[in-house]
């Protein structure tokens, strides 16, 4: 039975979604952030602009949620464009 419990925990950990969060940064231009979100996630200009404005007004925006490996890849790409981005476990 302990083995089964351990296995269940691992599956739960893998299944936990992760958020990719972009944080406000006074240096990055609004147009640049919008362009990067379009390039990295393939978002429409409207959706990218929505996230950019959320970052600007609220200080952060969850721009993507999903598995950890992909989230890490997205954060790496965003860092490559010099955006301040992190990943965090999705709540709930």
């Amino acid at each position: 039975m302990p083995e089964t419990l351990e296995e269940t925990k691992s599956v739960t950990q893998i299944a936990t979604p992760w958020n990719v969060v972009v944080h406000n940064d006074p240096v990055n231009l609004m147009s640049y952030v919008t362009m990067v979100l379009q390039k990295v996630f393939g978002y429409s200009v409207d959706r990218a602009r929505h996230h950019m404005l959320e970052v600007h007004h609220k200080g952060r925006s969850i721009v993507w949620t999903g598995d950890r490996e992909t989230a890490e890849l997205y954060v790496q790409q965003l860092h490559g464009y010099l955006l301040h981005a992190t990943l965090e476990r999705a709540e709930g």
């Binding site: 006074p26 147009s31 379009q38 890490e72 981005a85 965090e88």
Partner: protein, 168 residues
């Protein structure tokens, strides 16, 4: 200085004044954090604010060197492009760069702005275009340099958008 898309494959910088040429030539060096801790932290931030075990260590080992290489490559490409700037009589400069270099230019300009802003500890209010310096210290001149680079970035983004059909 005027910046425009040229023959659909290039970006042309024309009528470059001496001071603009000088500021452009400083882009590659300005983006080098030169080991300064705060600038390094901004160029290579942690991937998580939650202190996830193992993640930061792996990031430092595998991702950070890749990012460092990417940033250095962008600055080098811009430096090579700038070496091709011609000066006409009257010291007006002219430069044509391939459109495919636009991403590297945006990246190098962003590095320069981030490093300068971090080194000189500018606030959000100071970085807005509405800020008018009250003195003309070295710091105020750096702010003008940052805003000049921002204006070039804005124009390059406009040029890139000109050739991209809107995705809605």
């Amino acid at each position: 200085m005027m910046i425009r898309r040229w023959k659909d494959k290039s970006i042309e910088f024309s009528r470059i004044e001496s001071i603009e040429a000088e500021l452009l030539k400083q882009v590659p060096a300005a983006g080098d954090p030169e080991g300064e801790e705060k600038a390094e932290e901004r160029l290579f931030p942690s991937p998580t604010s939650q202190g996830t075990p193992g993640m930061t260590k792996d990031w430092d080992e595998f991702v950070r060197p890749e990012l460092r290489h990417l940033f250095l490559s962008a600055r080098k490409l811009v430096e090579e492009d700038l070496a091709g700037m011609t000066r006409r009589p009257g010291k007006i400069g002219h430069l044509v760069v391939p459109l495919t270099h636009a991403d590297s230019w945006l990246n190098a300009l962003n590095q320069a702005r981030l490093v300068l802003a971090t080194k000189y500890d500018f606030t959000e209010a100071e970085l807005s275009f509405n800020h008018t310096p009250k003195t003309f210290s070295r710091r105020d001149l750096v702010l003008l340099q940052i805003n000049f680079y921002a204006a070039v970035q804005e124009r390059l983004i406009e040029i890139l958008e000109e050739g991209t059909p809107p995705k809605r």
